[in-house]
């Protein structure tokens, strides 16, 4: 604000300490990522000597070449990409449509739908009843189990709704006078104006889809629908102390680890899983900061 205003010695010391704290935080957050990146890009036999910090000592892309020959990983990459795209699109459509109808003050089922949806934020059936339901619906072992159950998210609906509430209602009325029906208003008038809110929700949905592994573990562990996160989890768990035979370490992977060191494999796969998100999120930052705040105030 006003730097020159009585900048006493105590205040200056405070500033310096504050900056040091922040620099420490920066390095604690960034170092692990840079370390993983450096190891993944370093020659594996050289890595064994240790001492790699944030810069590769002997640069090599060999680790990445090796993991890309592992069929499970390539398959997982495809499934993860597919579920991210499909899941995000389905989630956006459902959330924006519901949000639009809930923002209409004249909609007579509004209160019912709103309460029906809001209640889901406070309870859940729990692990086993949900599992039994999925089994009864014959969704286990299919791709649908990734995108259908979580398609309608109450939180997302309410974030978009409060955004639509901020738009002038006169827009809808004038569109109506021009003969547009409610669906046309949603599609042609509301959706284009909602881009910031949609971008926020799209990021949340996409990150959620990309990052989830537990549904794969629970429903699809031994099918062709395993995801990238799940493959990474298998690799990480397979060499941890006391966990070698615990959760199905595959022979395929063991072969791979013999070609280059397990550590290099782990770090390279970690980077493949992490990089897509690191590329996207800074660009969407200004949207999600707004979206988070909005959601927090409303819910």
């Amino acid at each position: 604000m006003n730097r020159a205003f009585n900048a006493t010695r105590g205040e200056k010391t405070f500033d310096v300490i504050n900056i040091i704290i922040m620099l420490l935080l920066l390095s604690v957050t960034l170092y692990p990522f840079l370390n993983v990146l450096a190891i993944s890009l370093n020659d594996s036999s050289d890595t064994v000597r240790g001492g790699i910090q944030i810069w590769p000592r002997q640069f090599s892309l060999q680790n990445y070449k090796v993991i890309m020959n592992y069929s499970g990983l390539v398959q997982g990459l495809k499934v993860s990409a597919l579920r991210t795209v499909v899941g995000t699109l389905l989630g956006l459509i459902s959330a924006s449509m519901l949000a639009f109808t809930l923002s209409r003050p004249d909609f007579q089922a509004r209160r019912f739908v709103s309460v029906f949806l809001a209640l889901t934020m406070y309870f859940s059936g729990g692990l086993i009843p949900v599992y039994i339901l999925m089994r009864d619906l014959h969704m286990i072992g299919t791709f649908y189990v990734y995108v259908l159950p979580g398609m309608v998210g109450a939180f997302n609906v309410f974030v978009i709704r409060s955004f639509i509430d901020g738009l002038p209602y006169a827009l809808q009325e004038s569109a109506k006078l021009d003969g547009a029906n409610d669906f046309t208003i949603y599609w042609k008038v509301i959706l284009p104006l909602c881009k910031p809110a949609l971008a926020t929700i799209a990021l949340f949905l996409a990150v959620g889809q990309w990052n989830s592994w537990f549904d794969t573990y629970l429903y699809n562990g031994s099918t062709q629908w395993t995801t990238l996160q799940y493959e990474l989890m298998k690799v990480l768990q397979s060499t941890q102390q006391g966990g070698s035979s615990m959760r199905g370490g595959t022979n395929d992977m063991a072969d791979l680890m013999n070609q280059v060191s397990p550590e290099s494999i782990k770090m390279a796969i970690t980077m493949v899983v992490t990089v897509p998100i690191l590329v996207v999120y800074p660009f969407l930052q200004r949207y999600f900061v707004g979206g988070m705040t909005l959601g927090a105030v409303k819910s």
Binding site: I21, S94, F107, G126, L127, I128, L133, Q237
Partner: protein, 326 residues
């Protein structure tokens, strides 16, 4: 805000009109004119019913000896047998201890640190530096727990892990510590990892609330001779009190529903007695051993305690701070 209250006003007016004219035919007429709105919401309502409400029906399993493959009518009802079994199982109390310990540690750390971080970050002078710190602080939130667990075990490993290297280099320890194999360190590791992952993200809301504080308050306090600490204590913190209490209530409500991702991914057989939490217990005993009814009973216990805690927290805070979320 204005548009919202206007709409609410018109909504009330519409409802009164409807009540005045009354009648089912009137309702159907409106329904017909709003058919697009119905088409756009009813499918999703059915969706929510199937995937969120139907599983609640599964709670009946806890009171049966549920056998998959039999129809609902053929199941044998056993009353509270599974709950009785649960409360007499020694493992349950161990699991409960772990759940409570990790949630309380997570609650205290995960609640205080983001507030301190937000206040300090807000006080930073350089705009570019401030933005950089903020952007970087979100980063771990966006990677999965699988990745975080991998990173944490790498950092804590005895074989060239950064933490061990640092501690040895500083002569705090002589031999690298096997962090991941020591049960008594597990709770701390989980709490620390969670803090590392979510601190920046959780600070967003506080930062937004701080932005809403009137700058004139700071000017005035400065004229009165308040230093920075006093400003933080007397202006910033009271200014975000509402946000703090609402978030505190919500996190208390989720106290024992802490999930199991971290415990599942960071844990191993060596630390099992410290890492198993309620949800993992339900997973291992309920699904793993196909004891569906027993697992469901654990889930119900979890939900009931969570809701009770939410009410208690809400009631207490209502009395203390006049804030409430319900």
């Amino acid at each position: 805000m204005e548009t919202l209250s206007e709409k609410q006003g018109s909504l009330k007016l519409g409802a009164e009109k409807r009540a005045a004219r009354g009648g089912f035919t009137r309702f159907l007429k409106v329904m017909k004119s709003q058919r697009y709105l119905y088409f756009m919401s009813i499918p999703f309502v059915i969706w929510v019913f199937v995937f969120s409400y139907l599983p609640l029906w599964g709670w009946t399993m806890a009171f049966q000896d549920f056998k998959p493959g039999k129809s609902f009518g053929e199941q044998k009802w056993v009353g509270f047998k599974h709950f009785h079994e649960l409360f007499t199982d020694e493992r349950f109390y161990l699991v409960m201890r772990n759940t409570l310990a990790m949630s309380i540690m997570g609650l205290v750390a995960g609640f205080i640190v983001p507030i301190v971080f937000a206040v300090l970050l807000n006080d930073l002078k350089g705009k570019f530096f401030k933005r950089t710190v903020q952007t970087v602080s979100y980063l771990p939130h966006f990677v999965s727990w699988v990745v975080v667990a991998g990173i944490i075990s790498k950092m804590l490993s005895t074989d060239g892990g950064a933490i061990n290297n640092l501690l040895v280099w500083l002569h705090i320890i002589h031999e690298p510590i096997q962090f991941m194999a020591k049960g008594n360190l597990f709770w701390g590791i989980v709490t620390g990892s969670d803090l590392w992952k979510e601190m920046g993200w959780n600070a967003i809301i506080y930062l937004a609330a701080i932005t809403g504080i009137d700058p004139e308050l700071y000017e005035a306090s400065r004229v009165d001779g308040a230093n920075r600490f006093k400003q933080m204590w007397h202006i910033t913190l009271p200014g975000i009190r509402t946000t703090i209490s609402v978030l505190l209530i919500m996190s208390i409500g989720h106290l024992i529903g802490i999930g199991f991702e971290k415990q599942f991914l960071l844990g191993n057989n060596l630390v099992k007695d410290y890492s198993e939490v309620l949800d993992l217990y339900a997973l291992n005993y309920g699904l793993g051993m196909a004891r569906f009814s027993f697992g469901t009973a654990i889930g119900i216990f979890n939900s009931v305690v969570s809701i009770l805690l939410l009410f208690i927290a809400n009631g207490t805070l209502k009395r203390v701070t006049k804030e409430s979320i319900m």
